[in-house]
C-alpha cells in the first residue's frame, strides 16, 4: 500500500512545487511590504494568498481526478493494473494520496500565513491584537459574527465535502470508463455523471439541513450533515472499487 501511495504522490508533486514557489514569492512580497511599511503590498499579498489558496484547493482535487482518468484511459493504466494489487488497494492509495495532497497544500498555506503573521507581529502588534484584528477584518468583510466552534465545524465540513468531491469524481470516471472505455464521449459523460452525483449528495445534505429548526439544533444537524456526507463518500468509494475490480477493462 505504501509503495502504491509513493507513486500516486509522485504523480502530483509537480503542482505542489509550483504552489510552493508561488507561496514563497507571495511571502517575500508580504515581508517586503512589512519592512518598507507599504500597507497596500501587504494587502495585495494577503488577498492573493487567499484567492490562490481557494484555487489551489480546487485544483488539487481536480488534479486527483485527472490523474485517475489518465491512469484508466491511457496505456499508463497497465503500470497500475498489471500489479498484484486489488483495485480496492489501488483506489485506497489514490484517495489517501489525494487527502495527503490537500493536507500538504493546507499546510503550505498555513505556513505561508504564519510567516506573514509573524512578520506583521514582529513589526507591529501582539498575537492577541493580531487575532482580534483578523476577526474584525473577517466580520467586516463577510458581515458575520465569528463563533470559533462553528469555524471548526465548517472546516471539517469543507474537508469532508472535499473528500466527497473526489469520491464522486472517482465513481463517475470509473463507471463511465467501464461502460464507454476510451471513447471521446466518455470524458464529457463522466462530467455529467459527476454533476448528477454531486446534485444527489447536495440534495441529501439539503434535506438534513432542512430538519434544523432553530439555533439550538443548528450545530447538531451540521454534524449530521457531515456524517451523512462521510457515509455517502464511503459508499461511493466502495462502489468505485467494486466496479474497478470486477468490470473495468484498461
Amino acid at each position: 500500500m505504501l509503495k502504491l501511495f509513493k507513486y500516486e504522490w509522485k504523480k502530483q508533486m509537480g503542482s505542489k512545487l509550483i504552489i510552493g514557489l508561488v507561496l514563497l514569492a507571495l511571502c517575500a512580497f508580504y515581508i517586503l511590504g512589512t519592512l518598507l511599511k507599504k500597507d497596500s503590498w501587504e494587502g495585495i499579498a494577503m488577498v492573493l494568498l487567499m484567492l490562490i489558496g481557494m484555487f489551489a484547493a480546487i485544483y488539487v482535487g481536480i488534479e486527483s481526478l485527472l490523474v485517475l482518468n489518465r491512469d484508466i484511459r491511457t496505456k499508463e493504466s497497465y503500470m497500475l493494473f498489471m500489479l498484484p494489487k486489488s483495485a480496492y488497494q489501488i483506489l485506497t492509495a489514490k484517495i489517501l494520496a489525494a487527502i495527503c495532497q490537500i493536507l500538504l497544500t493546507m499546510l503550505m498555506f498555513g505556513a505561508a500565513f504564519m510567516v506573514c503573521f509573524t512578520a506583521y507581529m514582529a513589526a507591529n502588534e501582539s498575537l492577541a491584537e493580531m487575532l482580534n484584528f483578523l476577526r474584525q477584518y473577517i466580520e467586516r468583510i463577510f458581515e458575520v459574527e465569528i463563533e470559533w466552534d462553528m469555524v471548526l465545524l465548517v472546516l471539517i465540513s469543507m474537508f469532508v465535502s472535499w473528500i466527497s468531491m473526489i469520491a464522486s469524481g472517482f465513481a463517475a470516471i470509473i463507471s463511465v470508463r467501464t461502460v464507454l472505455s476510451r471513447t471521446k464521449l466518455a470524458g464529457v459523460l463522466a462530467v455529467v455523471v459527476y454533476l448528477l452525483i454531486t446534485w444527489g449528495t447536495n440534495w441529501l445534505n439539503g434535506r438534513i439541513n432542512a430538519l434544523s429548526t432553530g439555533p439550538d439544533t443548528e450545530m447538531l444537524y451540521y454534524c449530521l450533515g457531515i456524517g451523512a456526507m462521510a457515509v455517502v463518500t464511503v459508499i461511493l468509494l466502495v462502489f468505485s472499487g467494486w466496479m474497478a475490480e470486477k468490470k473495468l477493462s484498461v
Binding site: K85, K247, S249
Partner: protein, 229 residues
C-alpha cells in the same frame, strides 16, 4: 497444467474480440500466438493478465480461478509503451522492484547493457525501438512463471531482433512458460515449440510445432500464409 482457458469470450458492444477460446498451456514451453492484427491475440493476453474484465468462460491458473494475486507470477508486456512519463529508465527498474518480488535488479542492469539503454534516459523520450527494448528488459528481468509478450519484435530492427530472441530463449526454462504474440512468424519459427493460430477471435489451429509440421508437411510460416492469405 499452468493455464487452462475454457470457452473464453469477450465482446466490445456487439463486436466479438475473443470467441469460444479453449486453450491449455503447459510449463516449460514457448508458444507462438499467431494471427494478423485484430485477430484477438492482445485481448486474450490482457484477459489472462487481468487487464480486461467482464468476459465469459473460465481461466484457471495452476488449477485455481485467476485472481489479482496471480499477477505476481504473470509477466505481461504490452505492445505499446506504458511507463509513466516522469520516469527515467532506472526508475522503471525501481518500480518493478517495488512491486514484483521476482524482479532481479542485476539482471535488469545486464539487460539494459545488452540492449544499449542508458539508465539515465527519460523513458518517454525513447524511440519506439528503444522503448520496446526497455519494456522487454523490465519484463524479462522478472523470474515469472508465465510471460505474455505481445508483439515483442514490433519496431525492433533486424539486428536487435536476433538479440531479443536470444534473450527470450535464455529466459525460457523448464519452470516457466512464454507466450509470444506476433505476425512475424519467420522470426520466431525456430524458437517456439507450440503454435496457436487465431483468426477473428477464434483458435483455428493449435499444436506443437512437430505435430503441425508432420500433419501439414509445411513450415509454420507457410501455413500462416495459407490460413491468413
Amino acid at each position: 497444467m499452468l493455464l487452462e482457458c475454457s470457452n473464453l469470450a469477450k465482446y466490445y458492444g456487439r463486436k466479438p474480440a475473443v470467441r469460444n477460446i479453449s486453450l491449455n498451456l503447459e510449463t516449460g514451453h514457448i508458444y507462438g500466438l499467431l494471427g494478423p492484427n485484430g485477430s484477438g491475440k492482445t485481448t486474450w493476453m490482457k484477459m489472462v493478465s487481468g487487464l480486461v474484465k467482464s468476459w465469459k468462460g473460465s481461466i484457471l491458473y495452476q488449477g485455481q480461478p485467476l485472481n489479482y494475486r496471480d499477477k505476481a507470477e504473470i509477466a505481461y508486456m504490452s505492445t505499446e509503451p506504458f511507463f509513466y512519463s516522469f520516469m527515467k529508465i532506472r526508475d522503471v527498474g525501481t518500480y518493478y522492484k517495488d512491486f514484483f518480488a521476482d524482479f532481479d535488479a542485476d539482471r535488469f542492469s545486464r539487460l539494459l547493457e545488452r540492449m544499449e539503454l542508458d539508465p539515465n534516459d527519460k523513458a518517454r523520450t525513447l524511440s519506439s525501438g528503444m522503448a520496446a527494448k526497455l519494456k522487454l528488459a523490465a519484463t524479462l528481468a522478472r523470474d515469472a512463471k508465465l510471460y505474455l509478450l505481445d508483439e515483442p519484435l514490433n519496431g525492433i530492427d533486424l539486428v536487435a531482433r536476433d538479440r531479443i530472441m536470444e534473450t527470450i530463449v535464455e529466459t525460457s526454462s523448464p519452470n516457466n512458460t512464454i507466450v509470444m504474440s506476433t505476425h512475424l512468424v519467420d522470426e520466431i519459427e525456430d524458437t517456439i515449440d507450440g503454435a496457436i493460430f487465431v483468426k477473428e477471435g477464434e483458435i483455428v489451429l493449435a499444436g506443437s510445432i512437430g505435430e503441425i509440421r508432420a500433419q501439414y508437411d509445411e513450415s509454420v510460416a507457410d501455413l500462416y500464409r495459407k490460413i491468413y492469405g
